[in-house]
Point group: C2
Chain length 120, copies 2
């Protein structure tokens, strides 16, 4: 039986927008692709929207998660700062550890599910 | 600093609607209130919507999570079955355990956040 269990962690401070799976995944795409625009494209969102989300993350942290270079040959790339890298790494570790520590309970949950398709 | 960390677990089988925080919370309300209609009211949703969500949960499991009594003095109450109780209990244990096992990482994540309000 294939019952998937997915965790979403949402970090929410009193003064800022929450940081959850969408923003973390966007940061990963920016890190991989090397720019906000390419990260936005990978997530099928507008550059404006991606910039806005990055701005929200940067404002939520003590020190920005993403730095951009203005101009240059590639038209301004973007990189994760060490803080941005820590944010993404810790977030993913938390998710992985949450699944790992709960293997027995998740197995018990999966066992409650009906393995077959419902009657039409 | 008060950065809240909330987990959401979503269980998704190939044939059925996912079970996540909304349905679990509805089941808890039904158990506490003793009927689908009172559970629906507590969640500010229509009876029809609550019934639909309960039906999705019942169809996803091997054996129903909620049983209803037709008629009677209270106009038909609802109870969680042992399977329904196991579902809710395990789900909440998984969430609690996920936070507990990650205390150190969550502390490191919280330390990345800006404790003060943004400049207006």
């Amino acid at each position: 039986m294939n019952i998937s269990a997915r965790f979403h962690l949402r970090l929410q401070g009193p003064h800022h927008s929450p940081i959850g799976p969408g923003k973390i995944s966007l940061l990963e795409a920016i890190a991989t692709e090397g720019s906000i625009s390419a990260g936005a494209k990978k997530h099928q969102m507008s550059y404006r929207r991606a910039w806005q989300l990055v701005d929200e993350v940067n404002q939520a942290l003590r020190s920005p998660a993403v730095l951009t270079a203005v101009g240059g040959r590639k038209g301004g790339g973007a990189v994760l700062t060490p803080e941005g890298e820590s944010l993404v790494r810790l977030y993913r570790e938390v998710e992985a550890q949450a699944l790992d520590t709960n293997q027995t309970r998740l197995q018990a949950l999966r066992a409650l599910f009906n393995p077959s398709a419902p009657a039409a």
